[in-house]
Symmetry: C2
């Protein structure tokens, strides 16, 4: 049976099916810019759950691969188009309803993370997960990748905030899972299984999110260290005492790239910068900042600066978030996302330095230091074939190092296509086999995001 | 092939396989006291993961049903023995290692929840989930049922604290999932799938638990209301403003049963008692308690009492936890566990009153009011056949009511065997079918806890 796009077009609202090559081109890759991306038959811009169902029913009938896509800001190539397949984007599904009494929001997947935060803030509420790309990434993509962010050290990750969802299976069946209740143990934990499934098991068309009361304005501490080891030791000292609402680390390469980009006066000579925040209520924030300051002083900090000013504090957080665009000015980037148990953080940071030397490549390190999740960014000139191949070797060597340290190959970006080759080494064959059994049970024809993860 | 117990005995340490009928009798039922419980061939008291593997390999070979069991304190009959099967208890697996820097504990399933709390408290850390039975229930059972408790209104449920596990599948394969990292998105979210799977998918032999810094001592407020409607309205007013660390409700029947049992001076004339706590740091606790007090006054509270004294505060929390043993003095109990979105709580409470009248039975209500999870306790005389059948009818009617209100049939106890008949109505046929596909993928022979949940 040949896939007949006309029947799919008829099943969708006007304009939902796009085959214009120029438009389609914009949906072939996410931010990972996977050069192996294929050319899809078409892009479906779903407007509602029924559109997603119609698309998946059609795809199941004709065995056409479907690559689900949120805002396309993924960094592991999880939304990479497949030749002859469909790209199914939920970017047009953008409704939200906030219930301040139950403290939940029911949101459609196309809303950006920042839009969710703003909508719930109007009710004095807070949706914590905050990927650095929060102004550009979609809440549906956040759920599909179990996204993290800067505040996870205190508040946990996306999965901790998803109470329920509507999800469409490969065969077009729409399911409602969970709901606006903090406690619900009726049946298997299917909601959580779909969180982080990277488009392999179904397409999320609605989320019920848990919200928390808005915290008070945060206090901020910035500390520069002459040695990255000292900074890493300070991190351990801090996290063994308290749980800041942010605890980020930047190495010298990142500091200088960000300073070039923002001109905000960062200390270019520092080997590491820590940015810590406390949003504890009342006088506790000042107490926490004092403990953090003392931990920095105990580990040989060069300079430390504290502020309660919101704009100033936010500027430092923004500096950290700017590392990615700032480093892009230096060349192409391979974004790593390895994580280790906190006590192994100093070893990881030192090992990455050795890898950069070995492969004569630049690796800038920014890290969600408080939860052990680091983003080594391999910077290279894509016009230089040698440099490019060194960069990819270094990228792999960082994952190997994380595995040696008992860590994970991806803390919050997902496996996608870029990290697929390392997944068996991390999970082991038995867990891979179990994962495939679940994939096969939910998507027996394998039409959902083929080539990703497994 | 006939199951040959001798080969299983040989594969286990001395004393691990028990066939003595008097001992076996004690493992046939959990607290739900399911009268349909069967007589198992034997009880396996596993001492390590290898014992669990040996047991499941043997059971797979001979197609012998295996009922996994923690402390046997389940309230839905999830650990009910099957004729000719095995009961596999993890009660002897009791090791724990706490890592205060990573803020995780690696625990074996047989440790009691209270023992985990105590072990981590020695490091200034806190494991939040606190089922009322926390001094009697095991951490393995907590994970297998995704147990909740009193502090979930602020801290979330067991699933939010399980970062990793070792689990043995039906065929005896032991898997390691997740680990001591707050962020890990490498592969499907299998860890969370096993949490709350009620022994259907595998047997958990080790857990890696996320810990948080120990909160300061809590302040406590107790408020009595002449009308349960007023109390329910006060709950909504409180939860729309803040997130207390405990917000419990007791109705008049519960108050009087607990007062008979504890003689602590509760107001017997009140129609409802609210017990609220704040463990916010510094002066914030007093601010929160003041907000809670005002919300109670705004909704016609009769009497309100606040204390910072730890013993006094703990006595009120203990009074709430004593509802179950106190009500047991009045007869046999059917423990309900329905949950609704918070705005529906007043309707649920009023509807339960009507059900009690309709079936001329006593239903005491205690509720984790802050998260909408209520425990209507149907009290009956088991020697009276009419009363017993009325009680079971009322038990079902409460679940039907919860379903009508868009709620769940079980917030934290699990489906087990007692609530199985209501699960299809709650989940719907499509979600039931998906659940069965996952069950079949993981346990194709169906040896794990047959007759429970699905």
């Amino acid at each position: 049976m040949t896939a007949d796009l006309a029947t799919l077009r008829d099943a969708l609202p006007d304009g939902a099916l796009v085959t214009d090559r120029d438009v389609v081109a914009g949906y072939r890759q996410d931010w990972a810019k996977d050069p192996t991306a294929g050319w899809p038959l078409a892009v479906v811009r779903a407007t509602c759950t029924a559109d997603v169902q119609a698309t998946l029913r059609w795809a199941s009938e004709f065995l056409v691969p479907v690559v689900p896509r949120g805002a396309g800001s993924g960094l592991s190539g999880g939304a990479t188009a497949v030749d002859g397949g469909l790209v199914l984007t939920t970017e047009r599904m953008r409704e939200i309803a906030v219930d301040p009494v139950s403290r939940v929001a029911v949101v459609q997947p196309g809303l950006l993370n920042a839009e969710v935060k703003r909508a719930v803030a109007e009710h004095g509420l807070f949706y914590p997960p905050d990927p650095s790309s929060f102004e550009l990434c979609s809440i549906g993509g956040n759920a599909a990748t179990n996204a993290g962010g800067l505040c996870c050290v205190k508040y946990g990750v996306t999965s901790d905030y998803v109470l329920g969802m509507q999800v469409v299976l490969a065969d077009g069946t729409a399911l409602r899972l969970g709901g606006p209740r903090l406690k619900d143990v009726a049946g298997l934990s299917l909601t959580k299984l779909f969180v982080g499934s990277e488009g392999l098991l179904g397409v999320i068309t609605e989320l019920t999110l848990r919200l928390v009361p808005a915290p008070p304005p945060a206090s901020t501490l910035v500390a520069s260290f002459a040695s990255i080891d000292a900074a890493a030791d300070a991190v351990l000292a801090i996290t063994s005492r308290l749980r800041p609402s942010m605890l980020e680390l930047m190495d010298r390469t990142s500091i200088n790239a960000v300073e070039d980009y923002t001109k905000m006066g960062l200390d270019r000579t520092a080997e590491a910068l820590l940015i810590a925040r406390s949003d504890a209520p009342g006088a506790t924030a000042a107490e926490e900042i004092a403990i953090i300051e003392q931990a920095c002083r105990d580990h040989g900090v060069d300079e430390v600066f504290c502020t309660d000013d919101q704009d100033e504090g936010e500027a430092f957080a923004a500096a950290r978030r700017a590392a990615f665009p700032a480093l892009q000015q230096l060349g192409s980037l391979l974004l790593e996302d390895v994580g280790v148990a906190l006590p192994r953080l100093p070893e990881l940071v030192r090992g990455i330095e050795q890898i950069a030397r070995k492969y004569t490549t630049t690796i800038a390190v920014v890290a969600h230091a408080g939860d052990g999740n680091t983003h080594p960014l391999v910077v290279f000139d894509p016009a230089d074939a040698d440099a490019t191949s060194h960069a990819y070797e270094a990228f792999g060597a960082v994952m190997d190092l994380a595995l040696d340290l008992g860590g994970t190959i991806t803390g919050e970006h997902g496996v996608g296509r870029l990290k697929k080759d390392w997944l068996p080494a991390y999970l082991g064959e038995d867990v891979m086999a179990l994962s495939r059994r679940i994939k096969d049970a939910l998507d027996p024809a394998g039409i959902l995001n083929p080539g990703a993860v497994l």
